[in-house]
Symmetry: C2
Subunit: 202 residues, 2 copies
């Protein structure tokens, strides 16, 4: 581990992988404190103790850096909510959903920034978000390949997409003000609402 003091600016030379990884970690970490727009090149460079030019060398520009950071945050979310490899399909989904709630609780600020970044103006950032949540939706079909619970059809995809938006809002709003609901109450609403909404399809 290399210790860099704030007073002396020694030019530390890392391998491209190390440097890239360091900057992405820093970006994700700062994303929990500042929003993406406040995450200027200057701020990152100062915080990492490098020059602005280096960020451009690695990520091409602000946009490229944002994309890499958001992708990293999305990957974190996806990995940390992975369902267990064994078990009954419904159980595995329940564990995964519980993991999602716990992840958002433990990482609220960062998750909020991720959502903001995705909903923001940029096309490629939205694409990262959409791809991630489509992959999360896939778990409903891979966990139950026979389609006993849900069949992979366009209307069902539509419903799952909207249900995901609801769950996201529900968890984030609940964190701000639980309104008397326990974590288990919340999970009951989350798990019960998907079949309830699905049954409304023609």
């Amino acid at each position: 581990m290399i210790h860099v003091t704030a007073t002396t600016p020694p030019r530390t030379r890392l391998t491209p992988d190390e440097r890239r990884s360091q900057l992405l970690d820093l970006g994700v970490r700062l994303l929990a404190v500042r929003s993406l727009e406040e995450l200027s090149i200057d701020v990152i460079a100062d915080e990492a103790g490098i020059s602005r030019g280096l960020l451009y060398h690695y990520f091409g520009g602000k946009q490229g850096f944002y994309e890499a950071v958001v992708q990293r945050a999305a990957d974190d979310l996806f990995e940390q909510t992975a369902p267990p490899p064994e078990g009954e399909p419904l159980d595995r989904l329940l564990v995964s959903l519980t993991g999602y709630v716990d992840y958002v609780v433990a990482n609220t600020a960062g998750y909020r920034s991720l959502v903001k970044a995705a909903s923001g103006s940029n096309e490629s950032l939205s694409a990262i978000y959409e791809t991630t949540f489509a992959a999360l939706a896939d778990r409903f079909f891979t966990a139950d390949p026979d389609g006993l619970v849900l069949q992979d059809t366009p209307p069902v995809r539509l419903i799952i997409h909207a249900w995901q938006a609801m769950v996201e809002d529900l968890v984030l709003t609940w964190i701000d003000d639980p309104a008397g609901l326990t974590r288990d109450d919340l999970l009951h609403v989350i798990t019960g609402s998907l079949p309830a909404i699905g049954s409304l399809l023609p």
Copy 2:
């Protein structure tokens, strides 16, 4: 360059109300084409045929202008989805929800920009969005003051908030790809899902 050959810009002088109104209209109109971040002071000033300085004079800055434009768009939404003054409570709500769907269909790009702006980093823009949707939620209670359908409690507010997020996502996603669902199918899901989710509360 001092000598301007082609067109001498005629400085048109309006009353403050007229000018303010003109700029807000232009802002809302451009919001349907460009996102809020692309709506720079320069763009607005050019499009309106005025100087940058004037925008600062009227709105204090980019932030103030954004707030005014978003507030205007939110007001439009609220007014154009007003429920009819007479009728059965459930009928009035159904008309209002139908009006919401039709508004988003007719004004998709603008509504998307509104959502993006609200989800964006800024605190005061989010507040405008939240206040507007809280006012929309109020309609559930003012339409049915006796609370026969829903009672105004924190858990119910939480559910309505999440349900609104779902409806918003549902309509916007449906517009992109109806997935075989008709407008009536969509409204059936929308209207049926709120009591379905509400019944999951402890």
